[in-house]
Amino acid sequence: MTMSESGGTYIDNFPAEARVVRSALYSSFLALALGGLFGIIQTLHRTDIYRFIESDMYYTVLTAHGVFLVVTFTIFFLVGVFTWAVTTSLDRGVEDIRFTWLWYGLMTIGTVMAAAAILAGFTDSIDMSADVLFTFYAPLQAHWLFYLGLVVFVVGTWLAGADWFRSWWAWKQENPDERIPLPTFMVLTTMLMWYIATIGIAVSILVFLLPWSLGIIDSVNPTLTRTLFWFWGHPVVYFWLLPAYMMWYVMLPKISGGKLFSDPLARVVFILFLLLSTPVGIHHQYLDPGIAEGFKFIAMTNTMFLLLPSLLTAFTVVASMEHGARQRGGTGYFGWLKALPWRDPVFAGMALAGLMFAAGGFSGMINAGMNINYLVHNTLWVPGHFHLTVGTASALTFMAATYWLLPQLTGKALWNRSVALVQVVLWFLGMTFMSNSMHRAGLLGIPRRTAEPQYQGFEFEAGVGSVAELDFQLALGGALLAISIVLFLANVVGTAFNGRSDDLPANEFAETLSGPEDSPQVLDNLKLWTAIAVVLVILAYSFPLMSIVDRGGLYGPDISPFPVSIETLSLLAFTLEQYTTAAIATTGEFVQTTLTGVIR
């Protein structure tokens, strides 16, 4: 496996890149700090334990919480860690550091624009607001600065991807016969997925919402912009998760004291994500009128197949940990668990994150079930679910990885490892309380995104316990999480103020038990996979989008420049049924053949 031969820390080998990565991470942590602050305000407000803002301002807070955490925090971390991964695994710096700063700058400017629009909602003296939550469903309208900020931010991420592709192309010139190193492979496939996915919001914002907020067009089709949002909105969850997966694959085995179980399988997993992440977005719209049940069904089947790469990841990660534990002298059926380096916050954090992700996976399967979804859709169950996925699997893995990355990026030892361990455990504990109570409150029908879920005309009835207890649990969990964030930030700041240290480990990632030479060359054929991914997206989305435009008009019911008659459409719909069934069959078969191909 290619690895830095020099054996130094990252900052020794790539001082210029280390600065960019550090900046990206610090931006990310600033967003985490703000998001966490808003999180605890929300928690106390909606449980009616402590309210100090007006309830209509709750939605400004919630918008900020959502946008800062799932756009700014996660994606800034991603670009940082991906830059680390590409440069480390190709063992070469970026091609032009000015270009790297350019995309970092664009992302920052975009964030500042969107943040300004959101935070202006706190004061009446500025005539600007964006209380539209991170989903910005029209006809709710934000100030144009919000939409423009998002565009600039996304363009920044596109350029970041271009930067990494550029590194890879340059590397390929010099190493024509080598396989793509695994971390770079993961970065590239993730970015390909991102390019496809962002078409959704790019169109939604540039063609509809931005002109609409500027008054250039009068109306939009709410179902259309909503569908375009989820075209991006589901794959974006993998954009949050895949950097965490990458750390589980390339870092966790090493920290556990062993090697990655299988490089080929890791590649298969990322290819599956590239293929299946996007043609599933309609599963967020099971309850939407105006979308045929058939389309929902297709999204559901694709979603279920999307479980596969996550299940494979679970296997590989656990198997790699076991391998590590046995290298460290662990024995027994379960006894090996004890030999794992639990006192290492990097390991403990990632392992706890993985465990919580398993729980999140279960509630996700419930969400994905078209019918059961009716019971939980838009209840507090849903935030309960995604605080386990993005809020823990991603966030906690990022924090744990930081404990390893930060010394690499600064050349300074971590300020305090014990605090770090307490921090990750506290996150686990806090999330247990918060997510558990959210799931249960959701089953009682308590809605999400609601400042005061206490109603005049009726009360929610708890089977066991009471709503008050669930509220208390939610607040307790939220408080522990907030403390955990404070400890994390203290460690980041403490480390920044540390002196340089000489005895840091070298910048390396996990070796593999079964390397890329064991896998078919076709896995590295990115063009092929991209083409298939695009075809799947076209199959899954072209007919729903056409039907939505036909029903509601391209720019809303008033202006309908899409003169497709109903008859043609139902004919199309019929053809579609045929196509999609075929598509499902092919996907299934395809998955099967790839897998058997891989297995052989």
Binding site: T432, R440, V464
Partner: protein
């Protein structure tokens, strides 16, 4: 100490979800606990674990129930 401080921390963390939902699980078995009772029960479990962890039974036992606990989750 039977386990390291860090391991104890992790064990306690793994017990937390069990304690949190013990009451619901017991309710399925028609055992209804009040909040106070379940808090007391939870504390008792934690106390038991602490006693187990701190009372030295020599250095001999490394095959301790720690595993079952971390897997019971």
């Amino acid at each position: 100490m039977r386990v390291s401080k860090e391991a104890l921390l992790i064990i306690l963390a793994f017990i937390a979800p069990i304690i949190v939902e013990l009451r619901t699980v017991l309710a399925w078995a028609n055992i209804e606990l009040t909040v106070l009772e379940s808090v007391v029960l939870g504390l008792a479990i934690v106390a038991l674990v602490l006693v187990w962890a701190f009372f030295p039974e020599d250095e001999s036992s490394s095959e301790t129930p720690e595993r079952q606990l971390s897997n019971g989750d």
